[in-house]
Symmetry: C2
Subunit: 217 residues, 2 copies
C-alpha cells in the first residue's frame, strides 16, 4: 500500500526534513504538512516534538547496532583466540551503515546519524548511550588487533576514524573535489573500501618515536 500509517508517514517526513533543514529549524507544521497529516497528529502519536525526534532515531538505530554486534560476534567466533584482521573489523563496523545507504529512506537516516555528533549536547547525550556496547566491543577488538598502540594513541585514532566516517555520512557532496562534474558517483561499496583503506592505514601508522611528555600525567 502506498500510504502507510500516519505514524510512519510522520517519521518519514520528520527524517527527511531534519536532514534537509536541521532538527531545530524543522517545525511540527512542516512535518505534518509534508506527511499530509494533521497538525495535532504529532502530539497524538508521539506526545511532543522531542519524543518524535527520539522516535526517528530509535527506529533505525537499534537494528543497526544489533547488526554491528552480530557481525563482530560472528568474526570473533570464527577467529577464536587470534586477533581479528584490522580491515575485517572495520568492515564489520562500517558495512551495516553503508548497506543502509542503498535505500533512500534509510540513507537519510545515515546522514542524520552523521550529523548527530554536532547536534546540541542534550540530544546527543540521549542518543549516544545507545552506542555504548558497540563502542566497547569494537574498541576491545581493535586493542587486540593493535596491541602495540597505547590506549591514548588508539583512542585518538578511533576518534579520527569516527570523524572521517561521520563526515562521509553527513556530507553527501564532496566539497574537496576541485573539478566539479565528473563521474564521481562511486558505489557505496567502493566508498566504504576507500574509507577502510584510509582508516586502516591511519590506525596502523607507526607511533612517532617521542610523543611529547604530556601523556601519563
Amino acid at each position: 500500500m502506498n500510504t502507510p500509517d500516519t505514524r510512519e508517514r510522520l517519521l518519514d517526513a520528520a527524517q527527511k526534513l531534519f536532514v534537509e533543514h536541521g532538527i531545530d529549524a524543522t517545525s511540527l507544521r512542516n512535518v505534518t504538512t509534508d506527511a499530509e497529516a494533521n497538525l495535532a497528529s504529532v502530539n497524538y502519536h508521539f506526545g511532543s516534538k522531542d519524543e518524535l525526534i527520539q522516535a526517528v532515531f530509535a527506529r533505525h538505530l537499534e537494528p543497526l547496532n544489533k547488526e554491528r554486534i552480530r557481525l563482530l560476534d560472528e568474526l570473533e567466533r570464527e577467529a577464536g583466540d587470534t586477533p581479528l584482521y584490522l580491515e575485517t573489523t572495520l568492515e564489520a563496523f562500517l558495512k551495516p551503515t553503508f548497506e543502509m545507504m542503498q535505500n533512500q529512506k534509510s540513507r537519510e537516516f545515515v546522514c542524520l546519524l552523521g550529523r548527530l555528533f554536532t547536534e546540541s549536547s542534550e540530544l546527543k547525550m540521549l542518543i549516544m548511550h545507545q552506542f555504548q556496547e558497540v563502542q566497547k566491543r569494537y574498541f576491545a577488538a581493535l586493542q587486540r588487533t593493535l596491541p602495540h598502540l597505547g590506549i591514548i594513541d588508539l583512542s585518538w585514532r578511533v576518534h579520527f576514524m569516527i570523524g572521517a566516517m561521520a563526515h562521509t555520512f553527513a556530507v553527501p557532496e564532496k566539497l574537496s573535489i576541485p573539478s566539479s562534474s565528473e563521474a564521481y558517483n562511486l558505489t557505496e561499496e567502493s566508498i566504504m573500501q576507500h574509507l577502510i583503506t584510509f582508516a586502516a592505514a591511519g590506525l596502523r601508522a607507526p607511533v612517532p618515536s617521542q610523543t611529547n611528555g604530556d601523556n601519563q600525567k
Copy 2:
C-alpha cells in the same frame, strides 16, 4: 578596557551561544542578554540575525585562511620545484587552527567551524566559498606530493581527513574513550601531531590493486 564595543560583545556572545546550543536554537534575546546589550542592538549593528551569523564567521575566518595560504606560500618558496613533504603540508594546513585553540574565544570559533559542515546548506554554501582558494592550493600541493594517487583516490582521502579534522574541532569530549577519568588532556600541539600521523598514513596508503570497475564511467 574590560568592556569592548557593543558590536564586539555581541559577536562574542553570539559565538559562545552558537557553540553551546546551536545557531538555530540561539535567539537574539539570548545574544543581547548575554552581551548585556539591548534587544534592538543586533538589528542596529548587523541588520538581521543572518548578518550577525555571517559576521561571527567572517571575523576569524578570513585571517585564518590568509595564514594557511601564507604558510603554504612560504613552504613552496623554500622548496622550489621539489614537492613538499606530506607531513609538512598537513602541518601548514592544520597549525593555524590548532593555534587558535590556545585562546578561549577563538577556540570557540574553531569548534563552530568544525560544525559548519553539518549546518543547513544555505549557511554552509555562504561560508564555504571562502575556502575555495585554500582548498585549491592545498589540493594541488597534495597532488604534487602524492602523484601516484588518482584524483578520485586523493579526493576521497582528503574528504576523510577533513572529516577527522572537523570532528576533532567540533567534538571536544572524546566519545571513543572507554575509561573515563584519566589524564587525556593532551596539548593542542600533541593532538595535532596525532592527527598528522593518522592523516599522513591514510593519505599515503597504497591503492588497493583493483578498485572495482566503477571509476571512469
